[in-house]
Amino acid sequence: MVTIFTTDFFFSIFRIATPILFATLAAVIGEKGGVSNIGLEGIMMISALFGSLTAYWTQSWFIGLLIALIVGCGVALLMGFFAFNLKTDIILTGTAVNMIGSGGTLFLVKVITQATEGKSLASTTSLITKSLQIPSWNIPLISSIPVLGKVISGHSILTYLAFLLVWLTWVLLYRTPLGLNIRSVGENPNAASSVGVSVLKIRYITIAITGVLAGFGGAYMSMYYAMGWSLDMVAGRGFIALAAQAMGAGEPLGSMFAALIFGFAQALGIKISAMGVDSNLVAPIPYIVTIISLVIFAVVQRNNEKKRHSAEALQK
């Protein structure tokens, strides 16, 4: 046991949880606004690709990141256009984006690299060098604290941003007029529009935010975590995020803990397979954790509801 739970292991939980956390926050805001964006997985894939390509072309991780966000936002807005204006089913629209994120990106990367590099590449891993990696940050003072320093210092700047965004998401949803509008549109669009809130505008803003957050996740994947885009590299993180959102009861803080649980499960899987256990046995761990935690969550929530109801009944 001691050999598993090392400082490296705990460090890796945060590293692994970061992209899930970005996508989870996107899911949280989307659900609050009544815009179920199940296309987060696809958006992350597309952002990851364009982020890494742009970083290579401009030789700047920052411009790469920026483009990843813009592309994420753009894809999300396009989803919005289909779902809100053309009235397609948003679940189907999200499914389409996920399929494009898988097959379409591979097609694109081959076509684009054929044109720019003269040979068609199936991934951008050869293009992203160490200098294009999103920088890490050794937190002064904290990094010198034994154990704790090794766990929480030295992460990508995006990791710190992700955790900061948990708080910002909460502020946005519960302390700003925009957040109030998002929640009201998500819960009762008629009520919102009856007092002059533009439901369409709020929905577009909501889905754009989910796109930007997924864009962060995508950029982190291809420009920090994996150093380059490759086929299906997001590997279900967009879907796990939806589960984390549900587990966290749709609240930013709760969903963050859920994302960390998934990070823990994946880190555990990696560690165990590194110890020589057949990786086929280890690979399902995160998904088993997903199912188990969703069950636990559902049971706990049902019990809470029962308690609340009986409390209410007593008051009557």
Partner: protein, 519 residues
């Protein structure tokens, strides 16, 4: 004299894209500071007219003046800016937000332009609440407050947006008697402060009580404007339905015979541990209508659920024609000739997207009369559904029309046509005329009496006092999950007496109540 009108709708015609003429050349003028009733049956065009006044729909032709000025009410936002507010029948509130947050939605006060000023929102709410004497709990979540308070929030929401003219769309439909009294008091209060109120309703007694004048619509046309003090209920119903509605249903004295439904000692504790039914016992006999009166929420809903197999009691027995039916599903009950006119017609009564034909015969698709081999006999089905549509005077374009597109009264007629035509021996009618127009109400009530006189046992559950008292041959009153009184003859009953039993002030002795078991 036009200056005295705050609202003038002149020559309003509304034709929907599908060709339905909802309003035709309607005149609707409201004086400043009055309570003006807009009356009419379901489908008479009241809602459409008010939607145009609140900017939700635009008239095909005609003009609208507010305070003498011609306006183009292109959206609710414009209507609000002209001082028009609407209290919708289905509340436009966000349940998870607090009362204060709902109040300020769309006009949120901020600190430094970025963060919500929650304190200010509460202040505003409390200020208006006090000013108009409409007490609400500013910090409570809307999901947790009672219906009556939700309505107050809706009214305050309109007032805080500067409304001087309030449209109230059937505001009492969701309220208890006590809440209604309270609301009327508040409305009169608003009137005294110079506000103008438009009151949509089809409850005659309420109109008589609270309004100054009324405009009556029938079939999309205006039937004139009247001073409330100068018309009586008979005249209003004549104008609304174009004939004299006999609001008292004629019926011969019942001659009950064998017991059909026998309920004994039914007990039910709901999932939150509250006892909803306590030792409920009664019989319903052939040829009689047994009414169940009571304030809603006193076990009536639970009782009906038990009787029609939607729920299981903790103790007790239910027999239909001597056979134990507890634990049977709806299909088995129907095979034993039990029919249900459910309280919630949209959820349990019909499939809104299905056609009239599909809905009107949905309980008998396995009937050999309508099948040829493995396929439906469409000719027989068409014939039977056309017959039912005609017999039950369902107003529709054809049997293929979607049920959900009909007016409430006609939807209920479809439900009733199905439930009454499958040779029932026991009919459970739960709020059979709730929220439907006078014509359909009269039709359904007459039909119930007619069926009972032909030897069918009818159990009538209704929160409408008039209805239970008019239709029932004998009556039980439920209070707190118990039968608090049984009256063998309803003709001797007064409202006050019933009220005492309904509110639990009076309670008959177990022996008196036991008489309903006819043992």
């Amino acid at each position: 004299m036009s200056e005295e009108y705050v609202i003038q709708m002149n020559g309003i015609t509304k034709v929907y894209p599908n060709g339905v003429v909802a309003n035709q050349d309607v005149e609707f003028n409201v004086r400043k500071g009055e309570i003006h009733a807009l009356m009419g049956e379901n489908g008479a065009g009241k809602s459409t007219l008010m939607k145009m006044l609140f900017g939700l729909e635009q008239p095909t032709s005609g003009e609208i003046k507010v305070n003498g000025e011609v306006v183009n009410l292109s959206s609710p936002t414009v209507a609000i800016s002209k001082g028009i507010g609407m209290v919708h029948q289905h509340f436009m509130l966000v349940p998870s937000l607090t009362v204060a947050e709902n109040m300020v939605l769309g006009m949120v006060p901020t600190t430094s332009g970025f963060l919500i000023d929650g304190k200010k929102a509460v202040e505003i709410t409390e200020e208006y609440s006090k000013k108009f004497n409409l007490p609400v709990d500013a910090n409570a979540r809307v999901a947790d407050i009672p219906v009556g308070m939700k309505q107050k929030v809706e009214i305050l929401k309109a007032l805080v947006r500067g409304a001087k003219i309030l449209i109230l769309d059937e505001p009492t439909a969701v309220l208890t008697t006590q809440e209604t009294t309270e609301l009327f008091h508040e409305l009169k209060n608003l009137k005294n402060q110079g506000y103008t109120l438009i009151f949509i309703s089809h409850k005659l007694n309420e109109i008589m009580e609270i309004t100054d004048r009324m405009t009556i619509l029938r079939g999309g046309r205006s039937m004139g404007v009247y001073n409330t003090s100068e018309v009586d209920e008979e005249k209003i119903s004549r104008l609304m339905v174009g004939r004299d509605v006999v609001l008292t249903v004629e019926k011969e004295k019942a001659a009950p015979s064998d017991t059909v439904l026998k309920v004994r000692d039914l007990e039910y504790v709901n999932e939150w541990g509250k006892k909803m039914l306590n030792k409920v016992s009664f019989n319903v006999r052939k040829g009689e209508i047994l009414g169940i009166a009571g304030v809603e929420g006193n076990g009536q809903k639970e009782l009906v659920d038990m009787l029609f197999g939607f729920n299981t009691p903790n103790a007790g027995t239910i027999e239909v024609n001597g056979e134990q039916t507890l634990g049977m599903n709806q299909h088995q009950l129907r095979e034993r000739h039990v029919s249900l006119v459910p309280e919630d017609r949209m959820l349990y009564g019909i499939a809104a997207d299905g056609s009239i034909e599909e809905n009107i015969l949905s309980d008998r698709c396995a009937d050999p009369r309508f099948n040829k081999g493995i396929l439906f006999d469409m000719n027989a089905i068409h014939e039977e559904s056309d017959r039912l549509i005609k017999d039950y005077t369902v107003l529709c374009k054809s049997r293929d029309q979607k049920v959900g597109m009909l007016s409430g009264g006609n939807i209920q007629k479809v439900v009733v046509a199905r439930e009454f035509s499958n040779s029932p021996q026991l009919i459970i009618a739960d709020q059979p005329t709730r929220g439907i127009d006078v014509g359909a109400t009269e039709f359904i009530r007459k039909k119930l009496v007619e069926l009972s006189r032909s030897g069918i046992a009818v159990l009538l559950v209704s929160a409408d006092l008039n209805e239970v008292m008019e239709l029932s041959d004998s009556l039980i009153i439920m209070c707190g999950g118990e039968i608090s009184a049984y009256f063998e003859d309803t003709s001797e009953l007064s409202d006050e007496m019933m009220g005492r039993y309904m509110l639990g002030i009076a309670h008959q002795t177990p022996e008196e109540i036991r008489r309903v078991c006819h043992e």
